[in-house]
Every structure is written in C-alpha cells, then in structure tokens.
C-alpha cells in the first residue's frame, strides 16, 4: 500500500530546522487526518472533521496509526510514538 502503510516520513529535518530537539511531548508536524505536513496546504477542513473522527496519522512521524473506536472512546497507536486516547489527545 506504499505511502499509506505508514512509511517512515520522520520529521527529523523539520524538527532540526525548527530548532526543536527531542522532547517528552513530540511536536505535531503532520496533519493527523490527511497526513500532509501542517505547513503545507490548508488543514481547516481536517481540523473541523476531527470533531467527528479520530486521528489516523501520527502527527509526529506520519505513520498510519492503529485506531480502535469504541462507543465511548477511541485509541490511536503509533508503533514509534505510543498510544493516544480521546482524553490524552491534544489536536494539532
């Protein structure tokens, strides 16, 4: 499935150019809905849509996350950056 199968588009170069070292709270670089870098394009529609859908791409590395939706919650897991749930999610 190519790029949609969680190709490791790591954010090293962007983070470095922003002067951001690795920290406890990874910086959102990619749109969690469409996976495109936040600095490219307009993600207004994506932000609005995220009110009614869980994130699909890891905002730090762009891998596709494993998302489980239940009636009252959701969890999204990036193999590299761990698990997020509705209560711990901080929208980009």
């Amino acid at each position: 499935m190519g790029a949609h199968d969680g190709a490791p588009l790591a954010s090293d170069s962007l983070a470095a150019s922003d002067g951001l070292a690795e920290s406890d709270s990874p910086v959102a670089v990619f749109c969690p809905r469409c996976g495109i870098p936040l600095e490219h394009g307009d993600h207004t529609v994506c932000r609005a849509a995220l009110a009614l859908e869980p994130p699909r791409y890891c905002p730090t590395c762009r891998r596709r996350m494993v998302v489980q939706v239940t009636p009252s919650d959701w969890t999204a897991r990036c193999v590299e950056h761990g698990e997020t749930t509705r209560s711990t999610w901080a929208p980009a």
Binding site: V67, Q68, V69, P71, S72, D73
Partner: protein, 337 residues
C-alpha cells in the same frame, strides 16, 4: 395537473393511505414524496411523525455498535473506509473480548437495549464465528443487553449457528436500490445481499436491513431502496447518510443537504410504517443538532448512541437529553425480548 397540485396531493394520499389505513406507500408515491418542496417539509415530517406514533409509539430504541474487526475488508463498497481496496488510512485491527464486554457494559449504562458487534469482512470464516461465539457468551454472561451482529454474507448454516449463539438480530444492509448498487459495489451483488437477508429471516433472528443515501443516486433510485426495503419487511431499517471518507471512491462527494435527508426520513417512514427506523451513520454531519431533532419528529424511532465503527458520534448524554426533552422514553430492555 401542476407540480404543486401533485405535491399537495401526495401529502393527502400519505395521510389517508398510510396513517388512516396503515398501507405503505408505493414506489411511485415514494418518488413523489421525495420530490416535495421545502415549503411542504414541515407538513411531510408531521405526517411521518404521526405514522410513527400510531404504529410504533413514542419509545425510542437505543443501540451501541462496536467493531470486532476493523479494516482490511476484501469488498469494495465505495463509501467504506474499511475496504482494503482503497487508499483509506484505516488500518486493520481486532478488538479483544474483555474490551467488547466493557463496551457492552458502558453501552448498557446509557439505557441502551441493543449492542451490535460488527466485523469488516465479506462473510465469516470459522475463526470469526468462534470469536463471535466467545464474545456473545461473555456479554450475555455479564451484561443485560440484546446482542446483535453484522459480519457479512452468511450461509444458512451460519445463520442458524448465530441464532443458536443467542444473537437476536442480524444486520445486513441492501446499501442501495438494486439499479444503483453496481455503482456502489462490484465485488458482490445486490442479489447476494437480498439472499442473506432472506436467510436471516428464515433463521428466526430479527432482520436489520437498511442502506445509505446521498451517494449520488437519483431520487428514483433513492425511492427504489425504500420500496425494496418495504418489500423485504425487516424488523429494523438503519438509515445512513453518506459521510464522505478520505481515500474512498465517494470521498469527494458533497454532504447531502439537510432538507433532502429529512425528506428521506419521512419517505422511509411512509414506506415502512411498522419498522424500527434508526438514525445510523452520518446524521451529525448531515443534519446537525437541529436536524437531528427534526428527524426524531419526522419518523425516526431509534438511534445509535456514541461512536460509530470508524467515526465519532455525539456524546450520548446529548442524545438522551434530547429524547427527554421530546418526551420520548427509551425503549426498555424487557420490551425487546
């Protein structure tokens, strides 16, 4: 006869034929209902609501749904983000039995009487049947809730096995009217879906069968779905409004206008006067808060609370508060046994 005269006439016919005599609308009549103007919408919804109250009463059946197996489906339903054939970002994942039981308990806590277990498959294999058996037994052991399932195309043996597990209702949608179906799905036929629906009815389980609107179908094809469902006579019809999913062939379609969605609700109620008509996916996006209320006053008598399979719903508290406000009691569990 002018268009206006035809429209006025169909509302009169609906009142007399469906409300007074309890006979569902014909295909041609459903088309006419779907062609009524925005000016007539309030009257149309009022008639549909009266029909619902007369034949189904004020109760609203509340349900939660859960995905046992998400994504990676071999089928190509063009609206579905769980198909493995498109570049949808949804990844494949299974839910374990303890999580299913926990979700069933939380669903029951909302007052819901129904809990539907869904898997994204063409049809079940032995492994899935085994997992379902285990999950249903665990839920029935510890939660007072009716368990329903939706795991695709069945054989007669599988339908019998599921009835034996204690699954009381099985969901298998027609998805679209017969003439539009080939533009929605190419990996299986409308007739295969119809046949599974008949098997379910023969098995003794209740049949839950609906579809989606807003996929680019014509008014006539929309009416066809309502009419074919009327012919099938399912116990329940879940009505979905297309929520265009990124990466799917229907991902760029516009969201259906709210008034068209409300006309659909009324038309489906008039085509199915004695069927549970449930709000399913896409209602938040298509109708918003105000439209959701209008639909409940226009023929809907069942809701899915909380999240859907891959998208999110409203907070259940908002729906429950709305039902309270509308003086529509939640259907009790005992009523459904």
């Amino acid at each position: 006869m002018t268009a206006e005269a035809v429209d006025t006439d169909i509302l009169h016919v609906a009142r007399e034929q469906v409300l007074e005599r309890g006979e569902r609308l014909t295909y041609d009549q459903i088309v006419q209902v779907l062609q009524t103007s925005d000016d007539q919408l309030d009257e149309l919804l009022a008639i549909a609501h009266e029909v619902r109250m007369r034949f189904m009463g004020p109760d609203v059946e509340v349900e939660g749904i859960i995905s046992l197996k998400t994504g990676g489906c071999p089928e190509d339903c063009h609206f579905c983000s769980q198909s493995g054939q498109f570049t949808s970002p949804v990844r494949s994942v299974w839910l374990n039995v303890p999580e299913l039981v926990r979700a069933a308990k939380l669903t029951r806590d909302t007052g819901a009487s129904e809990f539907c277990i869904v898997a994204a498959v063409r049809g079940p294999d032995a492994k899935l049947m085994e997992q379902l058996r285990e999950a249903v037994a665990a839920i029935r052991d510890s939660v007072d809730i009716n368990v329903a399932a939706s795991i695709g195309i069945l054989t007669a043996e599988q339908a019998a096995e599921m009835a034996d597990m204690g699954i009381h209702r099985y969901n298998h949608n027609l998805e679209a009217g017969r003439s539009f179906f080939p533009q929605v799905v190419t990996t299986h036929s409308w007739e295969e879906r119809w046949d599974t629906c008949q098997l379910i009815k023969d098995s003794g389980m209740e049949l839950c069968c609906g579809g989606l609107v807003g996929m680019g179908e014509s008014i006539e094809q929309r009416a066809e779905l309502a009419d074919q469902l009327g012919e099938l006579e399912p116990h329940e019809v879940p009505l979905n409004f297309l929520n265009p999913r990124p990466g799917t062939p229907f991902g760029d379609l516009p969201v259906m206008p709210a008034n068209d969605a409300l006309r659909c609700i009324a038309a489906f109620r008039l085509a199915l006067p004695r069927t549970i008509l449930r709000y399913a996916g896409g209602r938040e996006l298509t109708l918003g808060d105000l439209g959701t209320r209008s639909g409940l006053l226009g023929g809907i008598n069942a809701v899915i609370v909380g999240n859907y399979l891959t998208t999110l719903g409203r907070d259940p508290k908002e729906d429950l508060a709305l039902l309270d406000d509308l003086k529509m009691p939640i259907k009790a569990l005992t009523d459904t046994f």
